[in-house]
């Protein structure tokens, strides 16, 4: 009763318990994987962010006062930065007191992302677009001196304490999207210099939460950041999200996540109410989801909600185009890759290994993004065609001219995972049907990412999680100059494609641009540097006491909106 009479007195802390924490660290420039981005998004922020509840996706200012002023030629973006935003107190600052965020901090943070010595996976957001970026990168790579972040840089200019100018080499309409990403988050220079290599373990950000305790491979805990600058739950028209409109964010006091590798444990903890959410493993699917793809009775009676939503991801098997066997643009090599793609019964894969929680991919551009055309994949499963193409590629029956069997090697992450081993077994069997021996090597996550990043592959399993709702984000993976160690992990290079790409990157959204995107996707599908696999559907289970969740394709900054009811 006390609680009713004195609502402020003895208010229970609200804590969100989840699964997570297997990630690299908190350096935004290094947060190239989904899990790292998710963790970084709690402690750091950027100029812009996505409007959480609005669809189609659009950006709103976060640390900026407003959306930028754009010059008539589309080359200069001027941001006004909010006054009074503070970095939290931390030993890295003189006297341990945090200080105000200024325009210069953004210049510093953006240059860190560009710095080739840090090997950020996010340098692509600026490198071919910002004025002077490429020259700066070349200069830093060729010199041995420490990087001078104070020297004037034509691309990023702090014209006064609260004004930041971004100058582009050519129009780059995606700039607003990429500024929502973790690579463009603001970090204090003091922290980077104070902690050095250990910076990734000591986040000092303006975000809604701050790191309280972290024991790698076990548990991570965040608490509300007292220095988080005011933001409230947005007004909206959705009846589901009315309860908290206008309330200050974040809505939970703490987030605690456990690094759980064994699905059975996750499942039991979720059933016990110890976790707010759980995915559904393929072997649990039949028990949990009815044949009508709805939640089974027991769970539904407990108020557990099932959320199904398409993800803007594309899974594929990539070929290293520099490989002497599968790479190259000659006709036989192309046919070999097409034969490989046609040999994969992706529909069966979806059914057997994902319980139809994914659909066969038909274009590198996922559905829901302009440029995706609903037409069949030309290299869809067709065993006869695969055998024919393989023969035309010079390997009739899988054997070369000397009668030696064709043997290929593929890498995928998931060392030690049963699901990965079963998937590997599936791929090998499909290829065996056309006489090709496929050896699948399952690597640890870090080793896999390294080999993919450095191009040390023949064939690799991969998925691209789109960074912003614009097909350019996928198509950049095929742009020649982005080749390894850039994002173009297949080292694909096609002059026709490159010319189109250079043309479309500076175009604003228009039907013409969408048509060009579709055309570029067709070129890629024909050359086949990717054997397309699947578009996944997300099936998540949520506790009834977990509120304010709306599925989002770019969810990394959404933690502040979530709410936990007393339970």
């Amino acid at each position: 009763m006390l609680f009713v009479l004195f609502p402020g007195f003895g208010r229970a802390e609200s804590v969100l318990y989840g699964v997570g924490g297997d990630f690299k660290g908190f350096d935004p420039v290094d947060a190239g994987d989904v899990e790292s981005a998710d963790q970084v998004g709690r402690v750091y922020e950027g100029l812009l962010e996505y409007a959480y509840l609005d669809r189609p996706y659009h950006v709103i200012p976060r640390l900026a006062e407003a959306l930028p002023e754009v010059s008539a030629d589309g080359l200069t973006y001027t941001f006004k930065i909010k006054k009074g935003i503070r970095f939290p107190d931390d030993p890295c600052f003189p006297g341990g007191k945090g200080r105000e965020v200024t325009a210069q901090d953004f210049v510093y943070s953006f240059l860190r992302t560009l710095n080739p010595r840090l090997q950020s996976q996010g340098d692509w957001i600026f490198v071919n677009h910002v004025r002077g970026a490429q020259e700066w990168v070349d200069r830093v790579s060729s010199s041995k001196d420490p990087v001078n972040y104070d020297a004037p840089f034509p691309g990023f200019v702090a014209t006064d304490r609260y004004t930041l100018q971004v100058n582009l080499a050519k129009p780059y309409p995606q700039l607003l999207w990429v500024l929502t990403m973790q690579y463009a988050f603001v970090v204090p220079r003091e922290a980077v210099e104070f902690y050095g290599k250990d910076f990734r373990n000591h986040p000092v950000g303006t975000g809604p939460f701050r790191l309280k305790a972290w024991r790698r491979n076990y548990r991570i805990e965040y608490e509300r950041n007292p220095f988080f600058s005011g933001q409230t739950f947005p007004a909206n028209t959705d009846p589901e999200f009315q309860a908290d409109v206008g309330k200050p964010l974040p809505l939970v006091d703490r987030i605690i996540e456990y690094d759980i590798r064994e699905y059975y444990t996750t499942w039991q903890m979720f059933l016990g109410g110890q976790l707010y959410s759980a995915g559904i493993n393929k072997d649990y699917f039949e028990k949990v989801i009815s044949p009508q793809l709805e939640l089974s009775g027991d769970l539904a009676r407990r108020g557990i909600r099932l959320q199904k939503s398409p993800l803007l991801n594309t899974y594929y098997l990539g070929f290293n185009m520099l490989d002497p066997v599968v790479g190259g643009m000659s006709e036989p090599r192309k046919k070999l890759r097409q034969a490989f793609a046609s040999a994969l019964n992706v529909k069966k894969y979806c059914e057997v290994l994902t319980n139809n929680r994914s659909t066969p991919a038909t274009s590198p551009i996922p559905p829901g993004v302009a440029g995706h055309e609903p037409k069949p994949y030309p290299h869809a499963y067709d065993l006869e065609r695969a055998k024919r193409l393989l023969a035309e590629a010079g390997y009739p029956g899988g054997k070369d001219a000397k009668g030696k069997q064709l043997r290929l090697t593929m890498i995928m992450p998931g060392a030690g995972s049963t699901d990965a081993r079963q998937a590997a077994d599936f791929y090998a069997e499909q290829l065996r049907a056309i006489g090709v021996e496929l050896e699948v090597q399952m690597l640890t996550g870090a080793e896999y990412l390294r080999r993919e990043h450095e191009g040390e592959t023949q064939i690799f399993w991969a998925g691209w999680v789109i960074d912003y709702p614009d097909a350019q984000n996928v198509l950049q993976l095929f742009y020649g100059p982005n080749k390894c160690p850039g994002v173009n992990a297949t080292n694909y290079q096609n002059p026709e494609f490159d010319k189109l790409y250079e043309h479309v990157v500076s175009m604003a959204d228009s039907p013409e641009r969408t048509a060009l995107y579709a055309k570029m996707a067709d070129i890629v599908v024909e050359d086949c540097p990717w054997a397309l696999m699947t578009y996944p559907l997300a099936y998540g289970l949520f506790q009834p006491w977990f509120q304010n969740y709306k599925q989002h394709a770019f969810p990394y900054a959404n933690w502040k909106y979530f709410k936990v009811l007393p339970h």
Binding site: E351, R407, G416, Q422, D425, E429, E439
Partner: protein, 317 residues
């Protein structure tokens, strides 16, 4: 060679004693059965390999996934619709291959190091003891995993080793090397102690007086007198190897492309909570009886071959 008649005597006596141990004979019969299954599995495997076709146990049929036991599939089918019974049979092959392959590594290392340490003593002995003490001080499973990871990545990344993986699964090879390089310590200790004892015996002193070289004394004269130890050690170690492999494969470090028992159990655990016990039961039972039979038979063999135990028994009898 000069020990010929003496040796035959030892083996004959041992066999006579074993024959009277009914329990041991049952285990021997079980082992015979396993060996037959193993040979059958090897034949299926290599037959398919030579003909260049996919062996039947590897062909999946996704229409009959995860089925309960039936007449056609006495142990049901697995996640890919493959027959669990034939998976289990192939698992026997993997288990034997692991036992043999590992022993090929363990026996020469353990024997050679034990022999030189025991025969020469002094600094060589100190060095060998130091080496095996270091290896023995590291928790076995961790060391095996570390070695297995290294071996696997070396094998998978070098052209020269690629050829090997055509014949042996790289995961299997890695596990065998891992267990091989950690498993020789016990044998080495045993052999070293024997050599200590034998190097002072009269026949050795006589050989030395006649000017026989150290190598010849070690391997021509002493070796036949300790050979039975290797056989006992092998039969007692074998079940441990099978179990270790199962643990490693369960942890995902072991065999990958082939249905080892550990891998089968790993697959089976995914659906165990749904009540699919049969996949687990098959592999576990196969492992249980093999390990049990080997242990009992190994014990009996040791009793039969060890002259000291034999006299002790004779006295009590």
């Amino acid at each position: 060679m000069s020990d010929g008649p003496n040796n035959t005597g030892l083996w004959q006596i041992a066999w006579r004693q074993l024959r009277h141990n009914r329990f041991a004979m049952v285990c021997l019969a079980i082992l015979g059965l396993y060996t037959a299954v193993w040979i059958y599995a090897e034949a299926t495997f290599w037959g398919a390999r030579i003909r260049g076709v996919t062996p039947a146990y590897k062909v999946s049929n996704y229409d009959i996934r995860n089925q309960p036991p039936s007449a056609a599939h006495p142990l049901g089918t697995n996640f890919a619709g493959r027959d669990n019974l034939s998976q289990m049979i192939q698992g026997t092959r993997i288990a034997f291959e692991i036992g043999l392959l590992t022993s090929v590594i363990v026996i020469p290392i353990g024997f050679a190091l034990g022999a030189v340490a025991g025969y020469f003593g002094r600094k060589i002995d100190t060095a060998v003891v130091y080496l095996y003490s270091v290896i023995d001080s590291v928790p076995g499973i961790l060391l095996i995993m570390a070695i297995a990871y290294v071996v696997r990545s070396v094998v998978e990344r070098s052209e020269a080793f690629q050829a090997i993986t055509r014949y042996v699964d790289s995961g299997l090879l890695a596990v065998c090397v891992g267990m091989g390089f950690t498993g020789w310590v016990g044998l080495c200790r045993l052999i070293r102690a024997e050599y200590f004892k034998h190097r002072e015996r009269q026949y050795v002193l006589a050989a030395r007086a006649l000017g026989v070289s150290d190598g010849a004394i070690m391997f021509r004269h002493i070796a036949p007198n300790v050979l039975h130890l290797i056989i006992i050690n092998f039969s007692l170690r074998f079940p441990g190897l099978v179990l270790t492999e199962a643990v490693l494969s369960y942890l995902g470090v072991g065999v990958r492309d082939e249905p080892s028992w550990g891998a089968i159990i790993n697959d089976a655990k995914q659906r165990l909570w749904l009540g699919n016990w049969w996949e687990l039961a098959g592999a576990t039972a196969a492992m249980f009886f093999l390990v049990l039979a080997l242990n009992i038979f190994g014990d009996a063999l040791r009793d039969a071959l060890d002259p000291k135990l034999r006299t002790a028994e004779a006295k009590t009898a």
